[in-house]
Amino acid sequence: MTTTPLTTERARAAVHEALLGIVPDAELDIVDPGENLREALELDSIDFLAFVRRLAELTGRTIDEDDYSRLSTLDSCIEFLTTAR
């Protein structure tokens, strides 16, 4: 099954919304898009799982455990969500 990839704008909005649900005061505009999100926002493993769950809900995209490594930075999250599969 394939899902329609999101536009970059929608992907960015979903990533931001998912992160802000966990770190509501995160200053995402000043996070380096290539920086490791877990380090930049001090997310622990449980936060990261919550982020993945929210992102899946918001985008309707199934996110497998094997995909986690593609969700390490803002840029890589957007690339993941905007790529068809």
Binding site: P24, D25, R38, E42, D44, S45, I46, L49, A50, E65
Partner: protein, 589 residues
């Protein structure tokens, strides 16, 4: 469902350090066990750092790798025992030059980086008391522990200092020196790189006695502020013996303990025990990532791996196929601690990794593993195992408040098979804590009738295996970390909208429990989504990793007759359980 016990092949039994459990328990004696230690040369006493570093550096193991460290980008740095001896000497010399005296508290606020190991062992050489802090704590838990422990020195990074310490440094007047890793230091701090380079590599270890203080580990209780459990240099005997028996650690092993060095497991077994054996210890700066962890196990040829249920459950989510992609043939023994290990994870280890996982149990206060599944003994999946040789455990009948019943100074041991009781220990092993720092009353309350009361409820089967049932109090175990609800409630109540808070552990399939807060608001504040997010952010800023992950508004928090929030009732509601007879819920202890 009943889980089949997992027997051990003859080959596993033959090479185990502990081959005959029953006989060793009968014959074990902590005094005779001392022969595994060297003692300071010239009969000058006992110092953990000598046992962990210098005795190996002075002998045939001098060139063996003591620390093999991977940074976040997989670059490997190695330090031999000889190099570690020299660097830790320099750190001890630096402390002396700064005027830091024996017995003063040296705190660390560092992730897994080489300077952490150098600072801990160097400070022990200088006779200082080491107190490690979890680097994911927010500013508030850091400030509190520095203050409570009367910190003289803090070793951290420039970034952690800016984010978590600088703003409240004036609140910790005892703190004379902040040492930051690297070559640059802002005002009020000293850069460790050049300072260590300039310090002499020669130092004579302080002549500490076995009962001199060495380690101060903060832990959390149900009420009040964190408590500092103080351990002495003699603890290294228990670290050494328990690593041999419960982790089956051999001197030639490569050992990886994944616990953060800011917690007692990361110190006792992530630093001290493997080095006391002269083993190679693996340290990974990176965060949990399934591929990364398998890669570390495979590439570093790890023989003995000590990890946590949360991590194992996350690996399980990725499935056995991922494990099969890596060469884990060097792995010989896997153990887990932090919260009870579910039987599914024990059995999954057998299937996916080729080895069952050995659960064990201990606490900050005990300083070392107390109850364990062993390499040569049958594993009962879901059981924490049996007491270590040299450790006497028991179960005590509980009173109305859930804790051990004490009548006229006497406790009442539970004798019947399968009956629940508060897990208690007869203090006699050398890593037992000696005081709660500046809190003799709390220390006294932790004992009754010659038993140390653990606060955990367990049962025992006919063969002496212990099975965890739950906590007797409200302390939360989340992802291997002990979280005190009072500390979290206090932090939330610093928010102007919050009238009161009740904090519980909400069961979670991965983390064991998640910290969840129920909050009532002052008049004039509405329970809006915006306020909920504001409170989540407020909690994270103050508390860091121990902040609540969920917040729910509740204007009708249940109270005891004495006016305290009834956390047990909140938890019963959260779980959809019957709320029970409220008259018994008044906790007066």
């Amino acid at each position: 469902m009943d889980w089949e016990p997992i027997g051990k092949p003859a080959s596993a039994r033959e090479r185990a350090n502990l081959r005959d459990y029953a006989r060793t328990c009968r014959e074990f004696d902590w005094t005779r066990a001392r022969s595994v230690l060297s003692g300071l040369p010239g009969g000058r006493g006992l110092n953990i750092a000598y046992e962990a570093v210098d005795r190996h550096a002075a002998g045939p193991r001098a060139t063996r790798t003591a620390l093999r460290w991977m940074d976040r980008h997989d670059a490997v740095t190695e330090l031999s025992y000889a190099e570690l001896a020299e660097r830790t000497n320099r750190f001890a010399v630096l402390l002396r030059e700064l005027g830091v005296r024996r017995g003063e508290r040296v705190f660390t606020l560092l992730g897994r980086v080489p300077d952490l190991y150098i600072a801990v062992l160097g400070a022990l050489k200088a006779g200082c008391v080491v107190s490690p802090l979890f680097s994911a704590f927010g500013p508030e838990p850091v400030r509190q522990r520095l203050t409570l422990g009367g910190a003289s020195v803090l070793v951290t990074t420039g970034a952690l200092y800016r984010r978590k310490v600088r703003g409240s440094r004036a609140d910790v007047p005892s703190l004379r020196h902040v040492l930051v890793t690297g070559d640059d230091a802002e005002d009020g701090t000293l850069a460790l790189g050049p300072a260590l380079a300039a310090a002499s590599p020669d130092f004579q270890i302080a002549a500490t006695a076995p009962d001199d203080p060495a380690l101060l580990h903060f832990t959390s209780g149900t009420t009040g502020m964190p408590k500092g459990a103080l351990h002495v240099h003699d603890a290294v005997l228990a670290h050494h013996v328990t690593a041999a028996y419960a982790l089956d650690l051999h001197a030639d092993d490569v050992f990886w303990c994944t616990a953060d060095p800011g917690w007692v497991t990361g110190m006792s077994y992530g630093v001290l025990a493997p080095l006391s054996h002269g083993a190679t210890l693996v340290s990974d700066e990176g965060d949990f990532d399934a591929d990364r962890w398998y890669r570390v196990l495979a590439q570093q040829r790890v023989n003995v791996w000590y990890t946590a249920p949360t991590a194992l459950r996350m690996l399980m989510r990725h499935g056995a196929d991922l494990a099969a992609a890596y060469d884990l043939s060097a792995l010989r023994f896997i153990a887990s601690v932090g919260e009870p290990l579910n039987p599914e994870a024990v059995v999954w280890g057998q299937r996916a990794l080729g080895l069952p996982v050995h659960d064990n149990w201990w606490q900050t206060e005990t300083g070392a593993i107390m109850i364990s599944n062993f390499a040569a003994e049958e594993i009962r999946p879901g059981s924490m195992g049996r007491p270590m040789p040299g450790v006497e455990a028991g179960l005590l009948r509980r009173g109305q408040d859930g804790r051990a019943l004490v009548t006229d100074g006497t406790v009442h041991p539970v004798m019947a098979e399968g009956e629940e009781g508060e897990l208690a220990l007869r203090p006699c092993w050398p890593s037992m804590f000696r005081i709660y720092w500046n809190d003799p009353e709390r220390y006294a309350r932790a004992f009754a009738d010659g038993w140390y009361l653990t606060g955990d409820v367990a049962r025992r089967d006919a063969d002496g295996y212990y099975w965890f049932v739950g906590r007797a109090d409200d302390v939360i175990k989340s992802a291997g970390h002990l979280v005190g609800p009072f500390e979290v409630e206090s932090a939330l109540m610093a928010h102007s909208a919050v009238a009161e808070a009740g904090v519980i552990g909400k069961p979670d399939p991965v983390a064991g429990e998640l910290v969840k807060a129920f909050v009532s608001l002052h008049p004039g504040h509405e329970p809006t989504e915006a306020l909920r997010l504001d409170l989540l952010a407020f909690g994270r800023r103050a508390l860091g990793a121990v902040a609540p992950k969920e917040i729910e508004f509740d204007q009708h928090l249940p109270h005891t007759r004495s006016g305290k929030v009834m956390r047990r009732l909140l938890k019963a509601r959260e779980l959809g359980l019957p709320e029970g007879d409220l008259s018994t819920l008044e906790v007066t202890r």
